[in-house]
């Protein structure tokens, strides 16, 4: 197969400002960013608690969150579909086949990534961080925030991972979004559709955007980490 011609067409499509193409890109970006923005704080807080606090069932809770990491995204999509479908408990909200349903799916997918990475980062933190903060007069909450700040590069990595997983997710987005042109069609679902239709230029164009976004986010993370991230 000739790859050069579809690639040339892909760049032409991107530069032409093709409406359908850029709608998919814009939808992917805002839904992923909003999902991560909403789920990050509670997930990081839960990860911190699971890493630091000892309580009955803590180990089971950690195992459960770790298990969620390996859940197939279509199963997550199925659960959300059943919850949001007309006959489901949240059917009256009319969220199925809207960007909001995709956002909920992305939040569910990113949640275990953020929690597990946070647990790992906090457990890997030097215990002297919390103790030093306490000895210098910080309360429990302030000392906890100081600990999170000291492991900020690990936490940032979890956010980037969660975002990367969300923006590239197909199964759940198709199930709860329906891949409706102009409404819920995003980058990965559009790639899947256009490729099956044989429109490789569209697929390549969207793939390029996805790779540029992934690269950009990771470059930003590396820049933020600077030398500190390499310690």
């Amino acid at each position: 197969m000739d790859l050069l011609e579809p690639t040339r067409q892909a760049f032409a499509l991107l530069l032409s400002g093709d409406r359908a193409l850029w709608q998919s890109i814009w939808l992917s970006l805002w839904v992923s960013v909003a999902a991560i923005a909403l789920v990050a704080a509670p997930s990081i807080a839960l990860g911190f608690l699971l890493a630091k606090k000892r309580f009955p069932g803590q180990r089971a809770a950690v195992v459960l969150v770790q298990a969620l990491l390996s859940f197939p995204t279509v199963v997550i999509g199925l659960v959300i579909y059943l919850l949001l479908s007309r006959r489901g408990p949240f059917g009256s909200l009319d969220l199925l086949f809207t960007p909001w349903a995709i956002m909920i799916g992305y939040m569910m997918i990113a949640f275990p990534i953020l929690v597990v990475f946070t647990i790992s980062a906090v457990q890997g933190a030097d215990p002297r961080v919390y103790e030093t903060a306490r000895c210098l007069g910080a309360g429990r909450a302030a000392a906890s925030l100081t600990t999170l700040w000291e492991v900020r590069f690990g936490i940032l990595a979890s956010v980037v991972n969660g975002f990367g997983r969300a923006i590239s997710e197909v199964g759940c987005a198709i199930m709860v979004g329906g891949n409706i042109a102009g409404l819920t069609r995003n980058i990965p679902t559009a790639i899947a559709l256009e490729t099956t239709k044989g429109d490789f230029a569209q697929g390549i164009a969207l793939g390029i955007v996805l790779m540029v976004v992934a690269l950009g986010v990771n470059v930003l993370l590396a820049a933020l980490q600077g030398e500190g991230g390499l310690k």
Binding site: T132, C135, L136
Partner: protein
């Protein structure tokens, strides 16, 4: 005789059935300087951590300026009065200034006063040339001096220093010893856990020895 700053009574620390130490009575005077010696494993660090509120699992009590307290319910007032510096001090991965300011901010100190104390701390520790250096890049001796300056800037009523010269090179040790002598000359109440004979021999330091589960005041 100066007023007691801290008195321990009936303190027992055990790990399971193994008794680490039992301290019937110990008095630390305000303005006094003490070195705490004893063999490895005798409980020096544990005792220091208990006094800093970092180890709550102990029996017995303490009076601080005549007010009783217990280790399991270590009051915040004591956390602010007593500052502990780890054997290998931790400096936050931010900046030297932020490290020196951290505790001052927690005490609600106004920015102008904070800035004055930070500058004074940098000068006291001799770190003027290193103020822009990331804390992770400071040498062991510089880290120790920064941690001492950070603790001293808080003007604590009791300063607990755990093996401040261990793992320092000759130059780092000499500089840290000079700062310890200065703390003594400032009449700060300080307890230094150590094996270092040069610290033990510093003038004006009373000797506490923790051995075989008992603490004794050997001189002072």
């Amino acid at each position: 005789m100066s007023a007691p700053l801290l008195q321990l009574h009936g303190v027992r620390k055990a790990y399971g059935t193994r008794l680490l130490f039992a301290i019937g009575n110990l008095r630390i005077d305000a303005g006094g300087a003490y070195v705490l010696t004893g063999p490895n494993g005798s409980g020096k660090t544990t005792l220091m951590r208990m006094l800093a509120g970092l180890d709550a699992d102990a029996d017995g009590g303490l009076d601080f300026r005549g007010t009783p307290a217990s280790f399991p319910m270590f009051p915040d007032r004591l956390r602010r009065a007593i500052v502990y510096v780890h054997q290998h001090p931790y400096l936050f991965h931010t900046s030297l200034r932020h490290n020196l300011e951290y505790g001052l901010k927690r005490r609600g100190m106004p920015p102008a006063e904070r800035a004055r104390r930070v500058e004074e701390a940098i000068a006291w520790a001799g770190l003027d040339a290193r103020r822009a250096t990331p804390p992770a890049r400071l040498s062991g001796g510089e880290k120790q001096r920064a941690a001492l300056a950070r603790a001293r800037a808080l003007d604590p009523e009791l300063l607990l220093l755990d093996e401040p010269t261990s793992s320092l090179d000759r130059e780092g040790r000499a500089q840290t010893l000079a700062l310890l002598a200065q703390l003594r000359s400032e009449r700060r109440t300080v307890i230094v856990a150590c094996h270092d004979q040069e610290i033990i021999d510093l003038p004006g330091f009373a000797r506490l020895r923790l051995d075989e589960g008992r603490i004794t005041l050997q001189s002072g």
